[in-house]
């Protein structure tokens, strides 16, 4: 396989800037890689037919001496939750099959304006509801570390694309861990920025008060570079933060944990987590301590209620956000046999167009909001949100950042938890509190769990607006670990070229 695809975004960008490599070459290498391995991985739902044209345009502009951004010419994969002008956007749902939006999501617009090259749209759980990508209407994505296992979710496609060297960077969205948990199970990096740090305009809403778009990458610096491209206030999203942001990339370049106080959340360091996950977590903390960080135990007693609150708030908001899929203006239309009124057409379309998990959550959310239950359910969940925020406030009064394992286990087998929604929901136990409180979080690879040889990650959390702290601590830890490993963790991933061959022989590609 071409060396170009193994380059980090920062390194590739340097070669593009120096003229050593053209964007067309880099893009072509990634398109070839997609053609070779995506039959096995299934990270992409759509490959951008105009990618090479876009790359050629960037090359022309560079040749003409135009001032270009630091990531200009670098290819990027886009989670299908983000609407893209001219490219289908389905959010993993049958109900939007074939829909081509007439506008770009703000993060997509910013990526294009930065001269980056969209490679295509990545697979996801339908409407981002899930932790395994198995709820995609278009079939699951496979974990590049073990194709029989899940790549995490909902953004399994973006994480797998990056882990399988199909793209150096990807955009994801995180409502309860959909960027961080896939990063954890695929050995990649993913950041959920502070709520409002990145515009939600054009991100097909799951739960509006929890959703946040963020970067997916193989290194902390790459995530930071992409974060710098997409962050900032957007008048189209009145919940986006107007503050100016410091450079996240600078935070990585200046990474230094001496004197940094790191809080370990006692409630998320328990027997409920797989042994290898905890082992790598504690090793990482020791390494950070050895490099000058101070490790402090903190308590967040209300985190225990976070999942319950999340599974009330999310379905409630989702039930309303997904009402727009009604067969009138876009997407699928299913007419009942013998015709029907518009009401019947809507109901038949939604029955046929939504998968079981989406229906489950819509019904749940409709119930949680219905008259007589609002106070007991949605209202109470919003109170838990206050309590979780208070826990964060108390913790951040003592420490600069918090650390937890990103998720309780390594990647589980495809199909293993599909029929047990409650057990699936528990996957998000460590990631959900950040969404409830709006604080930023990052997942950084910490190694492989000894018992199954699968990747695990550590999650750092910072106070709202302090995303740069995540890049500081994440960058520092990554540098220490890569040094110990003698190279990036992903170099230990199985070579997909065998699948490449198989896939080619079977004609899957």
């Amino acid at each position: 396989m071409s060396d170009l695809i193994r380059l980090n975004a920062a390194d590739l960008a340097a070669k593009l800037a120096s003229g050593e490599v053209s964007s067309v070459e880099a893009t072509k290498a990634h398109l070839d890689r997609i053609a070779a391995v995506d039959g096995a991985v299934h990270a992409f739902l759509h490959v951008n037919a105009e990618a090479l044209e876009t790359a050629a345009d960037v090359d022309r502009r560079r040749a003409a001496g135009e001032e270009l951004g630091p990531l200009a010419g670098v290819p990027i994969a886009v989670k299908d939750v983000l609407v893209t002008k001219g490219m289908p956007s389905t959010s993993g749902s049958r109900i939007l099959e074939g829909w081509i939006p007439p506008y770009d999501a703000t993060p997509v617009r910013k990526v294009r304006e930065a001269g980056m090259v969209p490679l295509g749209k990545t697979n996801m759980d339908e409407f981002a509801m899930g932790s395994s990508t198995e709820h995609s209407a278009y079939g699951p994505t496979h974990n590049p570390w073990d194709l029989d296992r899940i790549p995490g979710g909902s953004g399994g496609g973006s994480a797998a694309a990056v882990a399988a060297f199909e793209a150096p960077l990807a955009l994801g969205s995180d409502t309860g861990g959909s960027i961080r948990q896939p990063a954890h199970v695929t050995g990649t990096v993913g950041t959920k920025p502070t709520y409002g740090g990145v515009s939600r305009y054009g991100s097909i809403a799951l739960a509006s008060s929890l959703d946040q778009v963020g970067p997916v990458s193989r290194t902390v610096l790459d995530a930071a570079l992409l974060h710098d491209v997409i962050a900032g206030h957007d008048p189209h999203d009145q919940t986006s933060i107007p503050d100016a942001w410091p450079s996240m990339a600078d935070a990585v370049r200046r990474a230094d944990v001496s004197g940094l106080r790191i809080g370990v959340v006692k409630e998320l360091d328990s027997d409920g987590f797989q042994a290898g996950v905890r082992q790598r977590f504690h090793e990482s903390l020791e390494l950070l301590a050895a490099n000058g960080a101070e490790i402090v135990e903190v308590s967040a007693p209300n985190f225990e209620y976070a999942i319950a609150a999340y599974y009330l708030i999310l379905p409630a908001e989702a039930s309303s956000n997904l009402a727009k899929f009604d067969s009138v203006r876009f997407g699928l239309r299913v007419v009942p046999e013998g015709g029907g009124t518009v009401e019947e057409v809507m109901a038949a379309t939604r029955e046929a167009g939504f998968g079981p998990e989406v229906k489950r959550r819509i019904i749940l959310g409709t119930y949680a909001l219905s008259a007589g239950y609002y106070d007991a359910y949605y209202g109470s969940a919003q109170k838990v949100r206050t309590l979780v925020q208070q826990d964060f406030d108390a913790a951040f009064a003592q420490v600069d950042v918090l650390a937890t394992p990103t998720a309780p286990t390594t990647a589980f087998k495809l199909g293993e938890k599909l029929d047990d929604p409650l057990s699936m929901y528990l996957n998000d136990v460590a990631t959900i509190p950040a969404n409830l409180a709006g604080v930023p979080g990052i997942s950084v690879p910490t190694g492989l769990a000894p018992e199954d040889g699968l990747p695990v990650g550590i999650q750092f959390l910072a106070p709202a607006r302090e995303d740069a702290r995540l890049y500081n601590v994440g960058g520092a830890l990554e540098a220490i670990l890569v040094d110990r490993w003698g190279g990036p963790l992903l170099s230990q991933a199985p070579d997909l070229s065998t699948h490449e061959l198989m896939a080619t022989e079977e004609g899957v590609v």
């Binding site: 081509i100 009145q238 933060i241 009402a323 009138v328 109901a347 029955e351 489950r360 969940a381 109170k383």
Partner: protein
């Protein structure tokens, strides 16, 4: 509180405009009961003195200036429609009345 009947699920499906099958209703009735039992945990700490949070980051942003900018062309507006007549969206006959 978590006792949910099949009739309730059918009613919720009607509110949510999803033509669930009998099997789905039956299945969801059981699942919803279990899920609600798990999430009712919130009531343990959601006491009257706690103020609810509906927006995670308190902000005071300027509102939008009243200047026309975003507008789709009629072709763009209709581009994804399952059925249209060139200027308007077409839907089958409506049973209920205007709100």
């Amino acid at each position: 509180m978590s006792e949910i009947s099949a009739e309730q699920v059918a009613h919720l499906a009607n509110l949510a405009r999803i033509a669930l099958t009998e099997e789905e209703i039956e299945h969801l009735t059981t699942e919803l009961g279990q899920i609600m039992q798990a999430v009712e945990k919130v009531s343990e700490v959601a006491t009257p003195d706690v103020v609810p949070t509906s927006h995670p980051i308190p902000l005071h942003n300027p509102l939008r200036e009243d200047v026309p900018t975003d507008v789709l062309s009629v072709e763009q507006a209709l581009s994804g429609a399952p059925e249209h007549d060139g200027t308007r969206f077409v839907v089958s006959a409506i049973l209920g009345e205007e709100q």
